[in-house]
Subunit: 195 residues, 2 copies
């Protein structure tokens, strides 16, 4: 019993470090950059609030579990801002090694089941993972709109880049959220182009 609980607590104490991984997006207020711990909480809340519109074959509690775990690999691999330039293959290798190490802190049966949930999220093929990925992409632009541009300004993002890297991922798992966001984002990019 204690050996198992010791392993679980080692994992939970390691997880604490996700609060110090800084993302490319700011808070809605623009006061500071967001960290990956609070981001994970926020999109789990998005799933709880917006899950009612997901297809019937999406299990929201499973999506929430996935979202609680989805960024833990960043403790070792760091966050790769969506509009930044990074080597996708190298990043995937770093994240796989991070998953091995971090989930490996858990008792073996739990390590296996958490890892399977993270692998499913990364593959983005099941209905749960597609919806989870959509929420992960849908939250940051809302914070950019609230803060007056945020990472779009910092990375000098163009609307077609935004549509390709963010819009298409939102559309895949939650097209109705893209329908809601698209005109708001398009208006921002249109106005920015005229400044």
């Amino acid at each position: 019993m204690n050996k198992r609980l010791n392993a679980q607590m080692a994992f939970l104490m390691e997880a604490d470090k996700l609060k110090q991984i800084i993302r490319g997006t700011t808070l809605a207020s623009g006061a500071r950059y967001e960290n990956s711990g609070e981001h994970s909480w926020h999109i789990a809340l998005y799933a709880l609030v917006l899950g009612e519109d997901a297809p019937d074959n999406v299990n929201i509690d499973r999506v929430i579990r996935m979202l609680l775990l989805h960024d833990l690999v960043e403790i070792d691999a760091g966050d790769a801002p969506i509009f930044g330039n990074h080597d996708a293959t190298e990043m995937a290798e770093k994240e796989t090694a991070a998953a091995d190490r971090i989930f490996g802190l858990l008792p073996p049966d739990q390590a296996t089941s958490f890892r399977a949930l993270w692998d499913e999220f990364e593959a983005a093929e099941t209905p749960d993972a597609r919806f989870a990925k959509s929420l992960d992409r849908f939250q940051p632009p809302n914070q950019n709109l609230a803060s007056g541009g945020g990472s779009w300004i910092e990375y000098n993002t163009q609307f077609d880049q935004f549509e390709a890297r963010v819009g298409n991922k939102i559309k895949r798992g939650a097209p109705w959220l893209w329908d809601w966001l698209q005109p708001k984002a398009a208006a921002w990019f249109e106005t920015r182009g005229k400044r």
Copy 2:
């Protein structure tokens, strides 16, 4: 559809402010104080990892939903550090008014169901709420132990206060976690007394 989604998004954007509510506990590294958004994520992860030992009548997915919502009232009411002195009646009034306003941003049916979950957490009478409350009390002392004392030093906390305000709440919903923590905490207080 848009009216409903607009209300849900107003709630989710308001929730972003929880990331700027500062708690009395630091991160495990001691680098800075923890905020209530990342704290909410962390204890939802505690529920996911440690839920297997909860009594059979505890529904972990429901506990996770409760924990995602439990601190939102702090956006208006602020965080009351556990070893600080505050007027409990006044705090409860502030939190009730905060719950009215914040959950009230949601569409009425969702406002009602989220509010019911928060009321259940606050009352701490059902098995789900008791387990959720235990995790909310169990996480901070682990961060204090990791950082070398944290809020125990800041508030000059004595072991009997710790046992009364924290230990008894952990015991109520998760006695096995208190059994694990108690000797570690007792050793810290014992050593501190001799410095």
